[in-house]
């Protein structure tokens, strides 16, 4: 009978015991049980159990990384909803977008969120990169996480660009055609060398991208698979790595004197060890080197639950509210159905590629391959070339010098790009003076390469003058941002038919 009673008690206790086996800590009401919850839960464990008060300051991160992650979550959620109705076929794609727009319940709003969320994510990723750079947060031990961040930047752009084709409207068709021609641009070099017949990496790239010679059914399926499958999975993988590394690298970067600058903790920060520690720290034996927490107590940390999580929720909801507000006021564009017989003029790539398209207008290889490669390589090498310690966690580092160098670089970067562009627009470029000039000369001597050369020369000058690699880094990064900004603005607002320069679309000529 004992067994029977036990059995009945067991049956009664099933809900309780299932719950206890699922959640192996007490109700999350005390700091300790919440920390335990964070520690024990696969999903919450992406947080530390405790987070430094410095990391929660507004000015430390501006929440930019979180905005990127939040937009990604929004994009996945709305993207999955859109997939239920979208049909990746040249005959049906446009009609299915129209259906989403006109008759699918809330379809218009969901598509708007997806569109504006994508733009927001690109902007946030760029700002996030700038924040990490200017707070020196790429320095040891975070070098590789900076590189992972770059991978995420490329994936973000790839996701956005691959999604651009899917509506199968004129905007999509011609932007993708431009993108595919940029992929083909190594042909410029092989043509100059006269070996395209035997060795044609540009053609191979374009064919790989489009599955055909022009944008059509094959290209649409390829972009679709990349957009909904390959790139999001890679994104998740690298996001995981990126977050994991933050944990392993000792949390977000902060200045060495963060504790002093924060001052004594307020009343809301409770002492850590209210109970005797129950755990041994045997694993410490396998941790190599010094971690940022070594030699320091957790005094200035607060439990991630609720402090960090509230902040995360706030940033997520902020991102959501901005996106839904945009989606309420502006409809995502849908132009006429793609028509290979009616070229858009000007045909423009998505806005974040217009800086490159500006260079592409001189040389497809320089703008499409050479400069992006140099830029990515340069960005990737920043943490390995600037190994000066210190300054981590400060905006622009300590003292007046970095601020001066920043302003100088911004002035130089803006001046150089505006000057060169104004020259190219006003006076012209090599082709205008020597019409028969071989394209290979322009490939290597165009506003883009000249600008790159000037920027590199300027930063070398700064390294030597200031005797500091960090100052050189600030110089080159600031110049790069200035160049990106100005070229993108010119490509977006001041380029008209046949890529001519116009102050306003109302000046565009009668074609």
């Amino acid at each position: 009978m004992e067994a029977w009673k036990e059995y009945v008690a067991g049956v009664k206790a099933v809900p309780r015991s299932v719950w206890d086996s699922l959640v192996r800590h007490g109700a999350p009401v005390t700091d300790r049980s919440r920390m335990e919850a964070v520690f024990q839960n696969l999903f919450l464990h992406i947080h530390p159990t405790r987070v430094h008060r410095w990391s929660l300051r507004w000015s430390s991160t501006l929440g930019l990384g979180l905005i990127c992650a939040a937009s990604f979550v929004l994009l996945v959620a709305t993207g999955v909803l859109l997939m239920f109705y979208y049909k990746p076929s040249t005959l049906l794609a446009y009609q299915s977008i129209q259906d989403i727009h006109f008759v699918v319940p809330s379809g218009r709003f969901i598509r708007n969120i997806h569109r504006w969320g994508a733009h927001l994510m690109v902007i946030a990723v760029i700002f996030h990169m700038a924040r990490v750079f200017y707070t020196s947060s790429y320095k040891t031990p975070r070098e590789m996480n900076w590189v992972f961040g770059l991978v995420l930047l490329v994936l973000t752009l790839g996701l956005s660009f691959s999604g651009y084709l899917l509506p199968w409207d004129q905007l999509a068709y011609w932007a993708t055609t431009i993108g595919a021609n940029i992929a083909q641009s190594p042909k410029e070099l092989t043509d100059a060398a006269g070996v395209t017949r035997y060795f044609d990496p540009g053609g191979v790239q374009k064919t790989l991208l489009l599955g055909s010679r022009s944008v059509g059914e094959e290209a649409l399926i390829r972009f679709y698979v990349l957009h909904v499958m390959v790139l999001p999975l890679l994104m998740l993988l690298f996001l995981g790595l990126h977050f994991w590394r933050i944990r392993k690298d000792g949390g977000l970067s902060r200045p060495e004197d963060a504790d002093e600058r924060l001052g004594p903790a307020g009343e809301e920060v409770l002492p850590v060890f209210t109970q005797a520690p129950k755990k041994s720290y045997g694993l410490m034996a396998v941790v190599r080197g010094t971690s940022p927490s070594v030699g320091r107590g957790p005094e200035n940390t607060v439990p991630a639950w609720p402090h960090l999580m509230t902040a995360e929720a706030a940033v997520f909801m902020l991102t959501l509210s901005v996106t839904v507000a945009l989606s309420w006021f502006f409809d995502a564009p849908l132009k006429e159905m793609a028509n290979p017989l009616i070229p858009e003029n000007p045909a423009k790539a998505p806005w974040y590629f217009l800086g490159l398209q500006e260079i592409v207008s001189f040389s497809a290889f320089a703008g499409g391959v050479l400069l992006p490669m140099i830029t990515l390589l340069g960005l990737g090498l920043i943490p390995y070339l600037d190994r000066e310690p210190g300054g981590v966690g400060h905006w622009l580092g300590k003292g007046e010098r970095p601020k001066r160098v920043f302003l100088e670089s911004a002035a130089f970067g803006l001046g150089a790009v505006i000057g060169i562009e104004a020259f190219a627009v006003r006076v012209g470029w090599l082709r205008n003076w020597v019409p028969e000039i071989p394209q290979i000369v322009i490939t290597f001597l165009n506003p883009g390469t000249l600008l790159t050369f000037l920027y590199v020369a300027f930063s070398v000058h700064i390294i030597r003058r200031e005797n500091s690699t960090r100052m050189g880094g600030i110089a080159i990064f600031t110049c790069f941002l200035a160049g990106f900004l100005v070229l993108t603005l010119i490509g977006t607002y001041f380029r008209g038919p046949n890529w001519g320069f116009y102050w306003s679309p109302s000046d565009w000529p009668v074609h």
Binding site: R53, W54, S55, L56, R57, W58, Q95, Q98, D99, H101, F102, V103, P105, S106, G107, R108, F109, D169, Q170, L262, E268, V302, P306, H307, T310, A311, A313, A314, M317, L318, L320, S321, V324, A325, S327, W328, P333, L334, K335, E336, M337, N339, I342, W508, P509, V510, H511
Partner: protein, 475 residues
């Protein structure tokens, strides 16, 4: 660190904002949509008009739901009937749009379930609001046609003449005007016509992006472009060669309707194309008798006029050759005329009329141009043998005597002497006779003999030898 309270406030505010927008959008997109209001109004109107209680009950029980006409072989999904609910219901007669029945009895022959709405009316059939369905200031190639242009769509599947008495009188008038006004002179349509202007077989499918819209005031639509362009070609397209200022408003309207109906490039299911259109296509867009005069009126008259006198055309800025001038016909032959008609005069505004005419047509046209006089197939050269000329001397004479009118470099107003038909098919005798006697009735005067400009035989020989060096082929 940011105060925990501040963070919570931010969380609260942004959550409320997000919630507000989400709620507002889900209401505005799903509950307060305009078409639901129209359906309720329709049910009310229907109930008012019910004759029996059962009808009334049925009307009020009408489900509020999206309605659409799907025509798979046309690729059409038209949701117009979501609001235009009374289209086929005679009980709704006398109500205002969008509930009124379709005017006329055209739906009897064209049931919406087989044709849809947009094949005739255009517009964005997928849309469910009036502004978007009209699609005028929208990214849509074919905006809704105004009521008075809808009959253009009859011409997609019908011969305009065959539907003249069945509601498409403007369309058939436009088609007739096109023939009578000599538009074929510059525009090829159905294979017939010159190539100076645009080919018009599919002009009705042109979108606003394929037309120069910069100078069009007001709404940028293809149908407004056509109408205003007929009235003022150069005002809409600067430097257009189109003959200005000849259609009246009524004519421009009829021509616009006809242009909109020209959609040869459109793929249509066989079941839609009317039998009269098959007959029409086999007649190659020809309305009247295919005699010489008709052909001349349609193809030549627009530039050459009557053709007997050389007339300075102010618009083209030159003399248009008098191709029916008796003096000219006395020197020329049918082979030369045929070469000019078929091949045109490259480098001039005279385009070739290769297509659309068979040999019999060409023969009739030549008969008409030749008139009562005898123009032989090939004129035997009877001119006296000339001494071999010196082209250098000839060039000097040309610059002194002829270049005033014939020199391409100096604002030429007379025929181009280097063109291929003249060089290849124009005989020496013809050129010599023309120099000697001139062409009475045109600006070309006689250059030899009594009353002539005084060239002697040797000089004429020099001139001829120089003219023969102008041949495009020899260059």
């Amino acid at each position: 660190m940011a105060g925990a309270l501040t963070m919570k406030k931010l969380l609260l505010v942004s959550s409320l904002a997000a919630l507000g927008f989400l709620l507002a959008s889900s209401l505005s997109e799903n509950v307060f949509v305009s078409w639901k209001g129209y359906q309720k109004e329709y049910a009310r109107l229907l109930a008012q008009r019910a004759r029996t209680p059962a009808e009334k009950k049925e009307a009020l029980a009408m489900p509020v739901e999206l309605r659409q006409v799907v025509v798979p072989d046309l690729g059409v999904v038209d949701r117009c009937v979501t609001c235009h609910l009374g289209m086929e219901d005679p009980r709704m007669a006398g109500t205002a749009n969008p509930f009124a029945p379709h005017p006329g009895d055209i739906l009897k022959a064209h049931p919406p379930e087989k044709f849809g709405c947009t094949i005739c009316h255009r517009g964005m059939g997928a849309a469910v609001s009036f502004r978007e369905a009209k699609a005028v200031e929208a990214h849509w190639d074919y905006p809704l046609l105004p009521k008075d242009l809808v009959e253009s769509s009859c011409g997609i599947c019908h011969d305009p003449a065959a539907v003249e008495s069945r509601g498409a009188s403007v369309l058939s008038r436009g088609a007739r005007l096109f023939e009578e006004m000599g538009c074929h002179g510059c525009h090829r349509l159905g294979g017939l016509g010159g190539s100076l202007g645009a080919e018009l077989d599919s002009v009705g499918r042109k979108t606003k992006h394929q037309l120069v819209m910069a100078n069009l005031p007001g709404e940028k639509t293809a149908y407004r472009w056509l109408d205003l362009h007929f009235k003022d070609p150069q005002g809409i397209v600067p430097n257009s060669l189109m003959m200005p200022g000849y259609p009246t408003d009524d004519d421009a309207y009829a021509l616009t309707v006809y242009m909109l109906s020209l959609q040869a490039g459109r793929e249509l299911p066989d079941r839609l194309v009317a039998r009269d259109r098959h007959r029409f296509l086999s007649r190659e867009h020809d309305f009247g008798e295919r005699d010489g005069k008709t052909l001349y009126d349609r193809l030549c008259r627009v530039c050459h006029g009557d053709g007997t006198f050389g007339v300075f055309d102010r618009f083209l800025g030159r003399f248009v050759p008098a191709i029916r001038n008796p003096a000219f016909l006395r020197t020329t032959d049918r082979e030369f005329l045929r070469a000019n008609i078929v091949g045109g005069r490259p480098g001039t505004l005279m385009a070739g009329f290769e297509g659309g005419m068979n040999d019999a047509d060409l023969g009739k046209l030549l008969d008409y141009i030749a008139g009562p006089g005898n123009v032989p197939e090939r004129r035997v050269e009877t001119a006296a043998k000339l001494p071999p000329g010196n082209p250098e001397q000839g060039k000097r004479i040309f610059l002194e005597q002829c270049a005033g009118c014939h020199d391409p470099a100096k604002g030429q107003v007379a025929p181009t002497l280097s063109s291929r038909p003249l060089q290849e098919k124009g005989s020496d005798a013809m050129i010599l006779k023309t120099i000697a006697n001139g062409r009475p009735g045109t600006a070309m005067v006689a250059f030899t003999g009594p009353g002539g400009a005084g060239l002697d035989g040797g000089e004429v020989a020099d001139l001829l030898s120089y003219l023969r060096t102008l041949s495009a082929r020899r260059k």
